[in-house]
């Protein structure tokens, strides 16, 4: 983003992607966001930190992204009473992020919507966990919370509350449907049930250990988070990672994408009434997970990516087996795709169901896989390819109908592309070490990591304290942007289609609730 029209000075931000940081005054935050929007930018993340121990009050950070890279706006608030402008008129996705900033840090913005977002009365409303002087008390009893859901009035309108304990094996969250007959008039989400204090936990850890927690922010994206974390930690230490480690990270990230897309394609078939799809795709997914154990020692590839490299090397025989598996899988997936495509009943469920039109996707800042299915051609692997992606020429998968069918089609395209990428990575695997030691002491510094996970861009913003400790770590899941779009995508659909629509987005609760 070109910030020169605002007269702001930009400095480089340590990151493996193009990134700059700009200090902005209170009068400039909105202007900078408006300028970003006009230049085709989107809100990537929004968080804050307590800097009072450094006599700098609080620091609000707004991360923007456009075709040129990331821009981090840094806005200093002198104390906890200071307010900052509401960004949601420009970027609607800011609404929940701003509310979360209040819940965790007590910083208020000038928005009409002052409802809590992550807070559910488990701790006092005037205690803010991410403030440095926060002291948790064992005496706190969970209170009753009365969240003001928006209700629809009128003849024949009724309400269906769902969750937090759902009927299936899924994460907890609460959904309020306002319904007439079978038709959904409105859906309102209430999340935060799996808030378990991840960001506060990071602050007790050393930089060299944070990858374990990062890999468990959202278990289905273990590689993406651990890699984004490692990128930031390595940028702080000025560490160069060996090419073989980067290639193996790429291999793991693509295998994570393959496993998740296989799982989702199975469940999408199942939710469309086609159980055959679930048994076929879950069989293929299990094959991938079992090969992961043999190659990397963990089915979900947790703790494989570490700051400085990767934890395991790959021998030639295992590499050849993974290559063969990718070839076999591609053949099987093509066959199953043809069965899905020709199944009239399934296509009838998929097409025009749960639409997120292109304009809406842009307005709400939809991101990742779901955005590509609504014609938003963005993928960090293509837009800002860092090694090993700079040598892979990733083919972007997009559709423009924004319905369940489009999200299924993008998954099929990406699955086959990832299988191709893993084959290429294995064929060109560089020789050499797979890790360099991470230094025990680093400078006080800030850095950014950004990785295109299977769901979308996973961002980790990291501030290092003295002596190699984590001062602040904010992991950002693409689900923040995409949950609100789900509320729109279900409008006008029937209640019975909600599981299918929900699955087609397959958003993370844990990654969002933190």
């Amino acid at each position: 983003m070109n910030v020169s029209p605002l007269g702001i000075a930009a400095a480089a931000l340590a990151a493996p992607v193009p990134a700059q940081r700009c200090p902005v005054g209170s009068g400039q935050v909105l202007g900078a966001c408006r300028l970003a929007w006009e230049q085709g930018g989107q809100l990537a993340a929004l968080w804050a930190s307590d800097e009072r121990d450094r006599d700098r009050g609080f620091l609000l950070r707004v991360l923007l992204v456009d075709g040129e890279g990331f821009t981090l706006l840094e806005h200093t608030l002198p104390d906890g009473e200071a307010r900052y402008p509401d960004l949601s008129p420009i970027f609607p996705a800011a609404n929940r992020m701003q509310r979360a900033v209040f819940d965790l840090l007590g910083l208020q913005c000038d928005a009409d919507d002052q409802r809590p977002w992550l807070w559910q009365a488990a701790w006092p409303i005037d205690a803010f966990p991410l403030r440095r002087d926060f002291q948790a008390s064992p005496k706190w009893e969970p209170g009753e919370e009365h969240y003001p859901f928006v209700r629809v009035a009128g003849d024949g309108v009724h309400e269906i509350p769902v969750g937090p304990v759902h009927a299936g094996i899924i994460e907890p969250g609460h959904f309020r449907f306002q319904v007439v007959g079978e038709k959904v008039l409105r859906l309102e989400e209430r999340l935060g049930y799996v808030h378990k204090g991840i960001e506060k936990r990071f602050e007790t850890m050393a930089l060299a250990q944070g990858h374990r927690l990062a890999g468990r922010v959202s278990g289905d994206s273990a590689v993406a988070y651990a890699w984004a974390y490692a990128q930031a930690a390595e940028a702080i230490a000025g560490l160069a990672v060996p090419p073989r480690a980067l290639a193996l990270r790429g291999l793991c990230l693509e295998r994570e994408r393959i496993a998740n897309h296989l799982g989702d394609l199975g469940y999408l078939g199942n939710d469309g009434g086609f159980a055959f799809g679930l048994s076929q795709f879950s069989r293929l997914k299990e094959d991938v997970l079992r090969a992961n154990v043999r190659a990397f020692g963990h089915r979900l590839l947790m703790d494989v990516v570490v700051p400085g490299g990767v934890a395991n090397d790959l021998d030639a025989e295992t590499a050849a087996a993974l290559h063969r598996q990718a070839e076999d899988l591609a053949r099987e997936v093509r066959r199953l795709r043809s069965i899905y495509d020709e199944h009239a009943g399934l296509q009838d469920r998929f097409r025009t169901c749960g639409q997120a039109p292109h304009e809406l996707a842009l307005k709400l800042g939809l991101t990742g896989l779901a955005a590509r299915a609504s014609g938003v051609a963005r993928d960090l692997r293509c837009d800002f390819p860092s090694p090993p992606y700079d040598a892979l020429d990733v083919r972007l998968a997009t559709r423009d109908t924004g319905d369940v069918a489009a999200r299924v089609a993008v998954r099929f395209d990406e699955l086959l592309e990832s299988l191709r990428l893993t084959r290429t990575l294995l064929e060109r695997l560089p020789e050499g070490d797979v890790a360099v030691p991470y230094p025990a002491a680093t400078r006080e510094h800030s850095a950014l990591g950004a990785v295109e996970g299977w769901r979308g861009p996973v961002i980790v913003a990291l501030d290092a304290g003295a002596d190699g400790t984590i001062r602040r770590c904010h992991p950002h899941d693409p689900s923040w942007q995409n949950w609100p779009v789900l509320e729109h995508a279900v409008i006008g659909n029937i209640v019975a289609d909600f599981p299918l629509i929900n699955k087609s987005f397959n958003l993370s609760y844990s990654g969002h609730d933190l």
Partner: protein, 183 residues
């Protein structure tokens, strides 16, 4: 349709021992037999995610794939705790899920079994206890069996489910007095 039938025929039955590390395949076969004998083909499970990272859920899902074929063993995941013999709970229990978990426990008819899943369910794991986390499942409801692992493999899950249904005397993990188990 022909294509579909051909694919079914080509796939065959996958529930037989696979070209696996041999020890693991044997373990799987033995467990399946024992579960069948103990349960006589009927165990219903209500799974509750009480705060997990969703890694455990991925492995619980895997139990349903053709390799482990949980439903083929007569074990079924049900939509309501009122239909369940067993709660399979992943943790750590977030403070925000503690009430929902207790209510789910109360809604499950006696006699009931509780299996805590994963390192977080067993100890609080990497998240521990904090302003937002109650830690292990046993801190909130009584637990019969805890299955460690991050996440536990499907075979470890099967082994834990078997341990819960075949335990002769219920030795439940103690619940701290501050959080009394619901009657």
């Amino acid at each position: 349709m022909l294509q579909l039938l051909r694919q079914i025929a080509r796939t065959g039955i996958k529930t037989e021992p696979r070209p696996e590390p041999a020890a693991e395949a044997r373990e799987l076969g033995r467990l399946q037999g024992e579960i069948l004998r103990t349960l006589g083909r009927a165990l219903t499970i209500r799974q509750v995610d009480a705060g997990s990272c969703n890694g455990c859920e991925l492995e619980i899902h895997a139990l349903g794939n053709p390799y482990y074929n949980l439903e083929g063993l007569g074990i079924k995941f049900v939509a309501s705790p009122r239909h369940a013999d067993m709660l399979l709970v992943t943790g750590p229990v977030s403070k925000h899920m503690a009430i929902a978990l207790k209510r789910t426990y109360e809604a499950t008819p006696d006699p009931k079994l509780v299996v805590a899943v994963g390192d977080c369910g067993c100890t609080g794991g990497v998240f521990g206890e904090s302003y937002a986390s109650c830690g292990r499942v046993g801190n909130v409801i009584p637990v019969d069996v805890a299955i460690p692992g991050c996440p536990p493999t499907p075979v470890a899950l099967l082994r834990g489910i078997l341990a819960a249904v075949s335990a002769p005397a219920r030795e439940r993990s103690p619940v701290p007095p501050s959080r009394e188990a619901p009657a």
